[in-house]
């Protein structure tokens, strides 16, 4: 680890641009968490690239004193793929919102996840379109009244964790803007993972969707409403860990009182299961953030990264055929000489 990196501090990662989110926006605490985490990581600022689409969340790169590309709406995963593809030496982050990633950007999202491009993606889910002043989003609950749905929305929302798992993601986690420590540790894990790391961050939009996650993220609510997943441990929650998760006789995942079933019956969380099915089952415990909701790392498995395989093929080709020889290339196939 290069020395100069050690000495970096939060302000080394702050740009000179004024932060322009509404007062009280959850985005501030996420920004702080990231800027506090980076100095602890083995990275040089010049090797960091933050890519985003469009949205309030997507303004994030402007506030980071690293390389940044504020792209177009929904396309950040594609742009980040291009950066990672050509420069595997870089440390690529994608900052996106629930509209940016899941609405217009849905296709690039699922494809970059299956390709396992090596980037760390933070999806700021505030269940609303903030920048365009408050329309419902693909994560908004059914019946939501917004500017575009005066009679209530009727679309069944996505569960971002389920969608990512269905799209073959190798790292999937969830955290929230009210708990810096949990964010920091989750981001650290996501960054450590080699491949596409997908992190859903519950983020409060206090202007257009205030308190969307309060039922589970409010300090007093957390013990009973957040199920903090810990690798290798039985899944339990509640002030005294009185609740837990089991797979019942019908093969279904359900929440129980530990007292009723006994500790050994509890499902032991294994992030590294090759089969994403149980991670998926955990994601279904909560369809909306109003019932006990798992947070932490759902899945973390190894799979070759896209740009790594590309590199392998390049090297392989050069070993086989030697570095490209342009003259030989254009002169390949049947050629003939016309005498002078």
């Amino acid at each position: 680890m290069p020395d100069e990196a050690v000495k970096l501090s939060r302000k080394d990662f702050q740009s000179d641009q004024e932060v322009r989110w509404c007062p009280g926006c959850g985005d501030y605490s996420i920004l702080t968490a990231v800027q506090l985490l980076l100095p602890e990581l083995d990275v040089k600022p010049e090797n960091l690239v933050f890519v985003s689409g469009i949205g309030c969340a997507a303004r994030f790169p402007y506030y980071m004193n690293v390389y940044g590309l504020h792209g177009i709406h929904g396309r950040a995963p594609a742009i980040a793929t291009g950066i990672a593809l050509s420069r595997p030496d870089l440390d690529v982050w994608v900052i996106t919102g629930d509209g940016d990633a899941l609405s217009i950007g849905g296709n690039h999202l699922i494809h970059s996840l299956r390709r396992n491009v090596n980037f760390t993606m933070l999806l700021f889910n505030n269940q609303i379109y903030g920048l365009t002043k408050g329309q419902y989003s693909p994560t908004s609950e059914v019946g939501k009244v917004t500017k575009s749905t005066p009679f209530g929305s009727i679309d069944h929302p996505f569960n971002p964790v389920s969608l990512a798992l269905g799209a073959e993601a190798t790292f999937v986690a969830r955290t929230h803007d009210m708990d810096r420590k949990h964010m920091t540790e989750t981001f650290r894990r996501a960054h450590a993972h080699r491949g596409s790391s997908f992190v859903e961050v519950y983020q409060n939009c206090n202007v257009f969707n205030d308190g969307a996650f309060a039922a589970v993220t409010a300090k007093e609510a957390r013990p009973n409403m957040l199920i903090d997943l810990k690798h290798g441990e039985p899944i339990r929650f509640g002030a005294e860990g009185q609740h837990g998760v089991v797979v019942n006789a019908r093969g279904e995942t359900e929440i129980v009182d530990v007292a009723d079933v006994g500790e050994d019956r509890l499902l032991v969380h294994d992030e590294h299961r090759d089969d994403p099915s149980l991670a998926f089952a955990l994601s279904r415990l909560a369809d909306t953030p109003t019932v006990p909701t798992p947070v932490g790392v759902f899945r973390d498995v190894e799979r070759p990264i896209y740009e790594g395989e590309v590199q392998r093929q390049l090297v392989g080709a050069q070993e086989q055929r030697g570095p490209g020889d342009l003259e030989a290339l254009i002169g390949s196939g049947a050629t003939w000489e016309v005498g002078g």
Binding site: S15, I72, R75, G82, S86, N107, L326, E327, W336, V338
Partner: protein, 619 residues
């Protein structure tokens, strides 16, 4: 055929011949045409080809919709087009005859696979009676050859299933044509051995059929003599035959080498652009990274990301994909990053005629993005010229840090011609330095421009001290910070326009081919070059005066174009669209340019252009 036929058994010499191989998609006509082309090329003829496939993968065997053809024009002198009308049509079945007969001039030769002219096939082709018998072909020289049966016969001892053996009949036809035009046979024999080496029975069947065809020519008294087309005396040097898509891929690789920037090529398959992806993906040892994206938007995004990261970002598609890339091109305009966007034009609008050629995306290339989003546009004029054009597009993109559109079409993409191999040593260095240090007292300003080119510095991630953030929101010139100030926006809109306009100082003036100062100028662009030149040469041969200027740089126009146009009383612009270049020059120079349109999915014939020029000369 221009020379008179004699009655000696020795080959009769022709200066040129146009042959069209036509059959079912499954009959391997493209392959037969390719082989005939390659031997003729290697033999030293000048040539031009025109493949023509159906849009369906494989329409029902024997139907018109399923007919696939390949036309090749070979000559002993320098030629420019695949030929207006074939001298010989090889028709493997009735549908192939019916689909192509309208292009055959009276007196031309029809080489028919008579085995295929039985009821079922005649019905499928919609023939009431058998054209071979009903005299409807009396205007032609009909040669009936039982190609299928002889092929089966010649391969019967090789243990090939009849169904497979039958597949070799394209090699029979190739053999027969090789005899007729005294082509060397060894190259083809070698090729068959190499290509089918692994599948020995297939190889043997093809060899047998090929030889059978050749001997059939010798022995059967179909023609009292063969013909020959002598080598053309092209400028001395090394040549190969090449299609536009391959030449374009090579041009990109050459640009990558000359700029020392690896290619990052992202594309979503689409006819007729897919072959560029196929070709580039084979050359990973040149450091070429290819990515088959989830869609055209993703492909464009990947290329933009690669450009930001310091690679030569390229994405290619055809019309429908251009629509989808528009927003990303606008982003690249705003980011001022080098990017190459290839549009291999095909018949539109919408899905249109996917396998046919057209030039109808010019105005979309110019204006197909919201806002004032100018982009340079470069258009090659022949298959081999795609090499140069791709290299030029890369040069402009890199030097001016701008996305560039490379506008080719289906005819250039799949058509082929001999290519005078360039001296790779002589290729200019088109590399540009990356920014490596602060440029504004200690700070780095990503939009502090080169006063001459107006290009901004290209500082790539990984460079200490140059960290910066840019995006699609309007930026303050210099600092590149987001800026909503009215005057700054107008300044940026204008400077982006000036940067592109300024390229006119960096490109050659348009050359006018006007030996005997004419009053009429034919102004062309892109793939119409060959047909226009051919027409113009013919007219001059008849003592007419016609000038020809051909544009390669569509935006900006060469700086002398206005002056050139003002020097002619009449201006004709032949285009495979409804008059898109005409609109551009009329708006720019207020000259009364007239359009000759052809929007039929096939190139102009020289004759069509010649006729229109004559009209205008007489008018």
């Amino acid at each position: 055929m221009t020379a008179e036929t004699t009655s000696t058994r020795g080959p009769e010499t022709l200066d040129r011949v146009v042959i069209r191989f036509a059959g079912d998609s499954g009959d391997g006509m493209q392959l037969a045409g390719d082989r005939f082309t390659d031997v003729s090329a290697a033999f030293g003829n000048d040539l031009a080809t025109l493949p023509n496939f159906p849009a369906e993968i494989r329409a029902p065997a024997g139907t018109i919709a399923g007919v696939s053809s390949f036309q090749v024009h070979i000559s002993d002198h320098d030629i420019l087009t695949p030929g207006d009308s074939p001298n010989v049509l090889v028709a493997m079945n009735p549908a192939a005859l019916k689909a192509n007969l309208q292009d055959m001039p009276p007196g031309s030769t029809l080489l028919l696979n008579e085995d295929a002219f039985e009821q079922r096939n005649l019905d499928k082709a919609g023939y009431q009676a058998n054209p071979i018998e009903d005299g409807s072909l009396s205007a032609y020289r009909i040669v009936r050859v039982p190609m299928t049966s002889i092929t089966l016969e010649s391969t019967k001892d090789l243990g090939v299933k009849p169904r497979d053996a039958e597949r070799s009949k394209n090699f029979f036809a190739l053999g027969l044509l090789s005899w007729m035009y005294t082509r060397p046979i060894d190259p083809i024999v070698e090729w068959i051995n190499e290509r089918f080496g692994s599948k020995t029975t297939v190889r043997d069947a093809n060899l047998a059929a090929f030889k059978a065809g050749y001997h059939f020519g010798e022995t059967a008294e179909l023609f009292d003599h063969p013909w020959e087309v002598l080598p053309a005396d092209l400028p001395p040097g090394r040549y190969r035959n090449i299609t536009g898509n391959v030449a374009l891929a090579y041009g990109l690789i050459a640009a990558s080498q000359s700029s020392k920037l690896p290619i990052a090529y992202a594309s979503y398959p689409i006819t007729p652009a897919s072959d560029i992806l196929h070709e580039l993906s084979r050359h990973k040892n040149f450091g070429v990274r290819t990515l088959q994206a989830e869609d055209e938007i993703g492909a464009a995004g990947v290329a933009v990301g690669a450009a930001f990261a310091g690679h030569l970002g390229v994405t290619a598609t055809s019309g429908p994909g251009m629509d989808l890339k528009a927003e990303s091109m606008g982003l690249a305009v705003s980011l001022e990053l080098p990017l190459i966007v290839v549009d291999v034009q095909r018949g539109g609008p919408s899905t249109g005629l996917p396998t046919k050629t057209e030039q109808s995306d010019l105005l979309a290339a110019m204006y197909g993005r919201h806002g004032e989003a100018p982009m340079p546009v470069v258009a090659p004029r022949s298959p081999s010229h795609c090499f140069e054009a791709a290299f030029e597009a890369a040069r402009l993109a890199l030097k001016y840090r701008t996305p560039v559109i490379l506008l080719t079409d289906g005819y250039l993409a799949n058509g082929s011609e001999p290519w005078f191999l360039p001296d790779v040593e002589a290729l200019p260095d088109i590399g540009v330095p990356f920014a490596d240090s602060p440029n504004h007292d200690g700070d780095f300003w990503p939009y502090l421009r080169d006063p001459e080119t107006l290009a901004r510095p290209w500082a790539i991630p990984g460079t200490p001290g140059l960290m910066h953030r840019i995006g699609g929101l309007e930026k303050e010139d210099g600092t590149g910070n987001v800026n909503y100030d009215p005057e700054n926006h107008e300044h940026m809109v204008r400077i982006r326009a000036e940067k592109v306009a300024g390229i006119a100082r960096d490109i050659p003036p348009v050359e006018v081919d006007d030996p005997d100062d004419a009053d009429l100028l034919v102004l062309g662009w892109g793939s119409t070059w060959g047909s226009i030149q051919a027409a113009v040469r013919r007219l001059r041969a008849d003592g007419k005066q016609v000038a020809h200027a051909h544009l390669v740089h569509m935006n900006p126009f060469p700086s002398n174009l206005g002056e050139v146009l003002s020097g002619y009383q009449k201006i004709l612009v032949p285009e495979m669209n409804l008059g898109q270049l005409s609109r551009l020059v009329r708006a720019e120079y207020l000259v009364d340019a007239r359009t000759l349109s052809k929007v039929q999915g096939v190139p102009f014939s020289a004759t069509e252009i010649e006729a229109r020029i004559l009209e205008m000369l007489d008018a």
